[in-house]
Amino acid sequence: MPESRIPHQVPQPGTAALESGAPLQQAASELSGAATPASPVSLPAGDDGVLARAQAGDHHAFAQLYSLHKRRIYSLCLRMVGNIAEAEDLTQEAFLQLHRKIGTFRGDSAFSTWLHRLAVNVVLMQLRKKGLSLISLDEAMEPAQEERPGRSFGAADPALSGAIDRLALQKAIDELPAGYRLIFVLHDIEGYEHNEIAAMLECSIGNSKSQLHKARLKLRETLRMHPQEEGRR
């Protein structure tokens, strides 16, 4: 029996289709001072040398790692918090944490996966500081009553028509309440499973599923109200 497409076919953390293209040599050649490569790059096998040198305290090698991963980490932070200034601060903190902890990376997982998880934890720590209690997530992540998605049953409920407008969807995701956006981004975009999200957010698996469902309902509601973003500008 084919499975629902919703919970599956998502990229694995650290392997999402965000990194492809230019080889390491290109990244290195484009790295000059604060300059950074113009296109995202993957971690080729030859990256082990760069990683080892960065672990040994080589500043240039660390700069290369930054160059290779900055877009992925910055994009992750931006999606999770929906605010450019915060995303920049969080990206900075993630790479500072990386610099402090890079010596502890033992290669049990792919480096990109390890760094991705480190960045997620940095964002979660920040959200905790801001008062989003992840310990009592079941209550704390529940949006206010007026923010809850409308009940879909029982009333005329037209479906989305045609393809979803990319900008409208992006804007709708940005406008999700923080708790909804967090789980939606972690699951549907970053590819984490519910058990991983539950462990990271210290909530129940059921709560993760429920919050994700509510996030999707909220997105549906928003997209039905504003199906075309370009027309709103």
Binding site: I6, P7, R220
Partner: protein
């Protein structure tokens, strides 16, 4: 397909939906969905949204100045460590 499943109200079915989807079951084959246009449309929309979101993947570029800030902080931390 049981009669009980067929007779689920939309509210009852949608209450089960997060768990149904989250466990990887094919919600589209649920008896209620087979007989309810409303819930079928809902499910289709949710699948479409999830699929579209997966393809969104915006790649954002941090400002160049960010690396300068990080580098400055690293040097500052290393300086403090050496002094200590």
């Amino acid at each position: 397909m049981t009669d009980e499943a067929k007779e689920l109200s939309c509210a009852a079915f949608q209450a089960q939906l997060p768990e149904l989807i989250g466990t990887g079951a094919n919600a589209a084959e649920h008896p209620h969905v087979q007989s309810c246009e409303l819930c079928s449309a809902l499910l289709n929309d949710l699948e479409t949204i999830a699929e579209a979101a997966r393809q969104l993947f915006p790649i954002e570029e941090p400002p160049d100045a960010l690396w300068e800030q990080i580098e400055s902080r690293i040097r500052s931390e290393e300086g403090s460590a050496h002094e200590g």
